[in-house]
Each structure stands twice: as structure tokens, then as C-alpha cells.
């Protein structure tokens, strides 16, 4: 091979890890907004809630494609084992996302069936979230592997633990969504978002507690990693920071802070993400294959890196730009610029 034997695995780990986290944050808050949409009180607020994510949701969702293709490209063995293992959650997620995605377009272009597409939007968001949570739980639990194949059945991924992570993610995305709505709305609607945010927060705290309790019980190595001396000293900032961010998040939801709830929710996600990464490192197919064992050939990783290093910053820049263009509060009267 003409490519020098440079180790591209850490680079691709960072790119993929960053991409997945960005997906979780971005589509997380708009899926969360979709879940909260089911609790809206009237049509005006439904319109505003939907407007708050209408210009950006599809950009958020395309990170899922990059995540999927990225895993296929950088760590193909993990792709080949994990995807069939979570066959039904992925099926549910893809169909729910499809329904939810077209609901955006169809809801207001297809006036007679508005109610149906309203349901499609809310339930699609919830099902996609729940399915992603199950994928996460199944991933943490690990897979039954023989050779280079997934050796279990397509129903193995449904366990009490993965159902717990599924419900956890519902609360997590709802909290992100509530944070986003507090940022983008005002008045009564903002109060409503704060109220739902507080409920979501309680669910999130319970979920983080339960998952943190159960994860070390799944695998002895994880328990060792966190509680053995001196690791417990190095790693203690994670739970302590989580506690501090949680307190700050609760205060932000209760005081007048506009951006606090969203930032706090991002903080809680980041710390949970780091916690999972620390537990599983350096596994990409937990407890079976490391990142290095599952990596694509160096030649492949090098060829892709050329494009990724050039295009990723551009994609990030215009993503940021589109958020900038649609900044500020959504208001009910904006749409009437030419008819009022």
C-alpha cells in the first residue's frame, strides 16, 4: 500500500464521536420539541412550536446519515455487527423519522388532514427517540458475537435495561426541546415550556441515576474502572460536575434565564456522553472489538480523511450560519408580512 502506516484511528474516533454527539444534540432538541408538541394547549402554540424548528430540522437529521455512513466507513466491523443486532429499533426509528419528516411538509400543505399529521409529528418524534434509546441501551449491554457476525437474535436488544435507556432518552430529548423552546419563545408559551422542562428534568435526573447505577453492574470491568483507587479520584469530577450542572439547570428552569435551560441540558448530555465513553473505552463493539480491531484499512481511512477534513468545516460553518439567520424568538405575526 502506498500510504504510510499512520494511525488514523484516533482521528476517526474523534470525528465520529463528535458527529454522533452533534447529532444527539441537534436532532435531540428537535425530536424533543416534537415530543412536547403533543402537550401543546392550542393551535397558535402548536404553530409556534413547529416554527421554532422548521428551518433547521432537516439539516439536523442529515447528521444521522453522516453518522451511519461514518460508522460504515471508519469502523465497518462495528457497523456490520451492531446494525443487524438492533434491527427492529432501527426499523422503528427510520419509519418514525420518515413519518415525522414528511409531517413537516404535509401538515400545512395538506390542510384537511391536519390532525393526522399532527399526531404523526408527535408520535413519530417520540418513537424515533425511544428507538434511539433502545439502541443506546443495547450498545452499552454489548452484543452476542461469533467470528465477525452478530450471533444473537433480532429481539435480543429488547431488555429491561434498554427499555430504561429508551425511556431515559425520551426525558432527555424533552429537556433539550424544552430548553430550546424557552430560548425561542416568550410569554405564556415560554412558561409552558419551563413547566414541561421541569417535569422532563425530574425524569432525566432519575434516569441518569438509574443508568449510572445499572451500568457498572452490567460488566465488572466498568465497575472497576470507576470505583478502583486511584481512578475514583481522576473520574470523580464527572459525577460532581453532573450534580453541579443539574442544580444550575433546575435554577435556570425556575428563574428568568432565557438560555440557561438549553445550555444546562447540553451540559448534562455532554457529561452523560463522556460517562458512557469512559465506561466503554476503547471498545466500539462493547466487550468484543476495540476501535482498532474494527477499523477500516488505513488506506480507506486516509482516502476519506481528505474529503472529511475539507468538507466538515464547511458543513459546520453553514450549519452555524443557518442557525444565525433564523436566530431570535419565533413570533406568530412574522408570517403575515405581505398580507397585513
Amino acid at each position: 500500500m502506498s500510504v504510510p502506516m499512520l494511525d488514523f484511528v484516533p482521528i476517526w474516533t474523534v470525528i465520529l464521536g463528535f458527529g454522533v454527539f452533534l447529532y444527539v444534540l441537534l436532532d435531540g432538541f428537535d425530536l424533543g420539541v416534537g415530543i412536547l408538541y403533543g402537550f401543546t394547549l392550542n393551535r397558535v402554540s402548536r404553530n409556534l412550536v413547529m416554527n421554532s424548528i422548521a428551518p433547521i430540522w432537516d439539516g439536523n437529521e442529515t447528521w444521522l446519515v453522516l453518522g451511519g455512513v461514518g460508522l460504515f466507513a471508519a469502523f465497518p466491523l462495528a457497523f456490520a455487527i451492531i446494525m443487524p443486532a438492533v434491527y427492529f429499533p432501527l426499523l422503528g426509528m427510520l419509519l418514525a423519522l420518515a413519518f415525522r419528516g414528511v409531517a413537516f411538509e404535509f401538515r400545512y400543505r395538506d390542510a384537511p388532514h391536519r390532525t393526522f399529521w399532527d399526531y404523526a409529528f408527535c408520535l413519530g418524534s417520540a418513537l424515533a427517540t425511544f428507538a434511539q434509546g433502545i439502541v443506546l441501551g443495547a450498545f452499552i449491554q454489548g452484543f452476542d458475537v461469533a467470528g465477525r457476525d452478530f450471533a444473537g437474535t433480532s429481539f435480543d436488544c429488547f431488555t429491561p435495561f434498554s427499555l430504561l435507556t429508551g425511556v431515559s432518552l425520551l426525558f432527555g430529548y424533552s429537556l433539550l426541546g424544552a430548553g430550546w423552546l424557552v430560548l425561542k419563545t416568550q410569554g405564556e408559551l415560554q412558561e409552558w415550556a419551563r413547566r414541561l422542562g421541569r417535569w422532563s428534568f425530574l425524569g432525566v435526573i432519575l434516569a441518569i441515576g438509574l443508568v449510572s447505577l445499572f451500568t457498572p453492574l452490567l460488566e465488572l470491568e466498568i465497575a472497576f474502572r470507576w470505583f478502583r483507587f486511584p481512578n475514583i479520584l481522576y473520574l470523580s469530577p464527572i459525577p460532581i460536575l453532573t450534580l453541579l450542572v443539574a442544580i444550575w439547570e433546575w435554577r435556570s428552569l425556575n428563574n428568568r434565564s432565557e438560555i440557561g435551560p438549553f445550555v444546562g441540558a447540553i451540559g448534562l448530555f455532554l457529561l452523560s456522553y463522556l460517562g458512557i465513553a469512559i465506561s466503554l473505552w476503547p471498545m466500539i463493539v462493547p466487550y468484543k472489538f476495540t476501535l482498532w480491531e474494527a477499523a477500516a484499512s488505513p488506506n480507506t481511512q486516509a482516502f476519506m480523511l481528505v474529503g472529511a477534513l475539507f468538507l466538515m468545516p464547511v458543513i459546520l460553518m453553514y450549519t452555524g450560519w443557518s442557525y444565525w439567520v433564523f436566530r431570535g424568538k419565533v413570533r406568530a405575526d412574522i408570517g403575515y408580512h405581505s398580507s397585513d
Binding site: 460504515f72 446494525m83 404535509f106 468538507l311
Partner: protein, 466 residues
């Protein structure tokens, strides 16, 4: 009956990709058409191009959205149902998919926003640039995805280590032997598909006396374009066929339902191929024509299916019939184009009722031909996923049972049958509303997406969604 996860997975892949392929078949041509309209508007200043561009951009937005939604499903299919294929080919194929995703993301998504929402925000030349970038992005996507598809048909530039493919030469992988032909044939097919939709819509307006200026522009411009593209496509199809004769002779033998190798082979116009008896029933043959088409020599040797063991032959009936559907549609298209010269010469292009009706009737032609052609090439690739190297039977995820795949196939079936017809109905509704004069109506696509739902929905009557 035993449920076969391989067959069901193939059916599922065929189902989700068949729906998905219809959207790029339309949007790739449409993106270029919109860019052309923007350029013409800028060059001539004629408002009709502006109205047409705005009109088609609205339709583009819906079909592009549906393309994204059905496209997200595709990479996951590879992992969930074809995990062994993914594991074996990832080192070679994954960068092509990754580049498809990245370039699509980069050019289409980035500039689509400007194209859709930026009419009032940016100068017209910048809007044209955005339209060109979106068109370029769709073509880049086609480039990478067809490169991957072609590599599965005519693999090159790889070595096999421990049963897995490893890259040796990226240029040979990307520009594998069938790729240039497939790319040209497919992109032109997509342009033609869009063209027939545009003339169908234009003819419909003309026959009803609505939006006459727009209808004339659509019909006239597009028929000139088709005058070039349809004959070009016949030539490209022939070249692609010769390429397949060289690299995938078994596929061609199935397409022609040719069982015995022959020199001076006839062309079988119609038959009922029987795989059990290895012969054709009710065959309607034209002498020498088979050799003439496939080798450009009336005495050329055409290889028959019996040269391959039964386990290495593709199914015969499906490629055979699908090919005849594709060519039949192609001939109808050619006839319509020739007819258009005649009505144009006699100055009845915009008034001849039978011609306008034919144009309307031909709207779905491109889609049918694309699906038929795609069926020929993919079913003709069987029983391989990587032609001659990796079998379809060895590509499927080993953990899947027939029952698993049956459940997912039914789910995809139901959901797609809800989503796609509604999408088509919405596009048809936009066509019925028609292109409006600029400034007459607030363009729902213009002026920022967050405004849309608010304007489109009544804001009174509070109502609780339980």
C-alpha cells in the same frame, strides 16, 4: 412455506430503493432545469422564466424532502440486512458512500436553503449561483453513488485478503469499467424523465388554456432538449450494452434470453423464457439482428446462458421483460420527439389536441423506463452482489430470520404506501394551482421557512391535541 431471509431482504431492498430512485430521477433533472431557467431569466430578463423557476422550485422542495427521507433508509439497509456484504466491501465501497453523503450535504443542503428561502434576500445572480450549486450537488451525488453501484457490477482496483476486499488503486475503483457508461446513461435518463414531466405539465396547461405563456415555454424549450437527449440516449444505451457484453456477458444473455451460444444470432423480440427446459416458448425472432446489435457485426458471436453453470446464471424472465419495457418506452419517447418536429414545423405545437394529449400521457414514461432499466441491471447482476466474486447468498446478515424480514418488509410497505402517494398528491396540487405572477401571491417558499405554517393555518379556535 419456508420464509427465506435472502429473498425477503432482496425484496425489501428493491422496494425501498425503487421508491427512492424515483426522486433523484426527477430532482436531478429538475435542479438543472431550474438553474437553466434562472440563467435565462438573468440573461433575457423575461419574467416567464422567473415564474417558472419559482413554480418548479416549490415542487422541487417537496420531492427533495421525500428524497432525503427515503434516502436516510438506504445506508442502514446495508448494515441491517446485508451485514456480511458491508463487512467484506466496506474498505473499498464506504468512501464512495461517504463522499456521496458529504458532497450531497455540502452542495445540495447548503445552497438549497438559499434557493428556497433566499429569493428576497440575495441578488438574482447569487440566486443563480445557488441554483447551479444545487444542480452540481445532485450530479456529484449521482457520480459517487453510481460509482459504488458500478463497482459492484464491474469490480476493479482491489485485492482480497481473508475474504475481504481491500483497496489497491482508488482511480481504478472509482472509474471501474462500467462506470462511465452507467453514469452517462443514468444521468441522461434522469434528464429525460424530468423532461417528460415538464412537457406533460406544459401540455396540460395549454389544453386548458391556463398559464399559456408558461405552458408554451415549458413545451417548446423541453422538446428541443429532448430532441437532443432521446437520440443521444439510444446511442449511450448501445454503448452501455456493448460494455456489458464485454464485462457481464451472462447478464446480456439473460436480457436477450439467449440459451445457446451462436454466431449470427437472431434478436428475440418476444418470448416466454423457460429456465427449466433452458429454451424459449412462443419466440418471435428477427434473424441476424441480435448479433448486429450486440457485436455490431451480423456474424458476431453471442454467448448463451448454457456457457455458465446453473448456479452462476441470473434469472432470465425478469431482465428479459424489464429490458423490453425500457426499450419499448424509449421507442415511444423517440416517436413523440419525432412527432414534435412535425407539429412544430406545421405550427401546431401549442394547439394540436392529440399531440398535447400524448404529451400528458407520456408524463410517467421516464419513471417507468428508469425502474425497468434499473431492474435489468440489478437483477441481471444476480446471483452476485460483487459481480463474479461475492454471492448474494453470502452477503445477507446471518442473524436475520425470514419472519424478521417479513415484519420489516410489511412495515416499509405500509409506510411508503402512505407517504409517497400523499407526496405525489401534494405535488399534483401545486401543479393545479400553477405558476402565479411574481408578487401576486406571497410565495410560500420564499421569505423564510419559519413563517410558513403560521400563515397556512388559521390561528383562531384554540383546540387541544390530546
Amino acid at each position: 412455506m419456508e420464509l427465506d431471509p435472502i429473498l425477503l431482504s432482496r425484496l425489501q431492498f428493491a422496494w425501498v430503493i425503487a421508491w427512492h430512485i424515483l426522486l433523484p430521477a426527477f430532482t436531478i433533472g429538475l435542479a438543472s432545469y431550474i438553474a437553466l431557467l434562472e440563467a435565462l431569466n438573468l440573461a433575457t430578463g423575461r419574467e416567464v422564466y422567473f415564474r417558472l423557476s419559482t413554480f418548479w422550485t416549490r415542487i422541487f422542495a417537496i420531492s427533495f424532502g421525500m428524497g432525503v427521507v427515503s434516502g436516510i433508509v438506504m445506508p442502514f439497509q446495508l448494515g441491517t440486512n446485508w451485514s456480511r456484504f458491508s463487512d467484506a466491501t466496506a474498505n473499498v465501497l464506504s468512501p464512495l458512500f461517504a463522499y456521496e453523503g458529504l458532497t450531497a450535504f455540502f452542495l445540495e443542503a447548503a445552497f438549497l436553503g438559499v434557493l428556497l428561502f433566499g429569493r428576497g434576500l440575495v441578488p438574482r445572480w447569487a440566486h443563480l449561483v445557488a441554483a447551479l450549486m444545487v444542480a452540481g450537488g445532485t450530479l456529484f451525488s449521482a457520480f459517487w453513488i453510481l460509482s459504488a453501484n458500478s463497482w459492484m457490477q464491474t469490480p476493479a482496483g482491489y485485492e482480497i485478503i481473508d475474504g475481504r476486499f481491500f483497496p489497491q488503486d482508488w482511480l481504478k475503483i472509482i472509474f471501474n469499467p462500467s462506470f462511465p457508461y452507467r453514469l452517462a446513461h443514468t444521468v441522461v435518463a434522469f434528464y429525460i424523465t424530468t423532461g417528460f414531466v415538464v412537457i406533460g405539465v406544459g401540455a396540460w396547461y395549454l389544453r386548458r388554456g391556463r398559464f399559456v405563456e408558461e405552458g408554451r415555454s415549458m413545451l417548446s424549450m423541453t422538446l428541443w432538449l429532448l430532441t437532443i437527449l432521446v437520440p443521444l440516449q439510444v446511442f449511450l444505451g448501445d454503448a452501455h450494452g456493448l460494455n456489458s457484453v464485454r464485462y457481464q456477458p451472462a447478464k446480456i444473455a439473460a436480457v436477450e434470453a439467449r440459451w445457446d451460444s451462436l454466431s449470427a444470432a437472431p434478436l428475440t423480440l418476444f418470448a416466454v423464457p423457460d429456465e427449466k427446459t433452458e429454451s424459449n416458448r412462443y419466440a418471435l425472432d428477427v434473424p441476424y439482428l441480435g448479433s448486429l446489435i450486440l457485436t455490431h457485426d451480423v456474424h458476431g458471436n453471442v454467448r448463451g446462458l448454457k456457457e455458465w453453470p446453473v448456479g452462476e446464471r441470473p434469472p432470465v424472465a425478469i431482465p428479459f421483460y424489464a429490458f423490453r419495457v425500457m426499450v419499448g418506452i424509449g421507442l415511444l419517447m423517440l416517436a413523440l420527439v419525432v412527432a414534435s418536429w412535425w407539429v412544430r414545423a406545421s405550427r401546431r405545437l401549442y394547439s394540436s389536441v392529440w399531440f398535447l394529449r400524448c404529451c400528458e400521457f407520456s408524463m410517467p414514461f421516464g419513471f417507468i423506463a428508469v425502474l425497468a432499466g434499473w431492474t435489468v441491471t440489478e437483477v441481471g447482476r444476480q446471483p452476485w452482489t460483487v459481480y463474479g466474486v461475492m454471492r448474494t447468498a453470502d452477503s445477507v446478515s446471518p442473524s436475520l430470520t425470514g419472519q424478521n424480514v417479513l415484519i420489516s418488509l410489511i412495515a416499509y410497505g405500509v409506510v411508503y404506501l402512505i407517504i409517497f402517494p400523499v407526496g405525489v398528491a401534494l405535488m399534483a396540487r401545486l401543479v393545479r394551482i400553477g405558476p402565479l405572477a411574481a408578487g401576486m401571491e406571497p410565495d410560500p417558499v420564499e421569505g423564510g421557512r419559519p413563517d410558513l405554517p403560521v400563515r397556512a393555518l388559521p390561528t383562531a379556535e384554540p383546540q387541544v391535541l390530546p
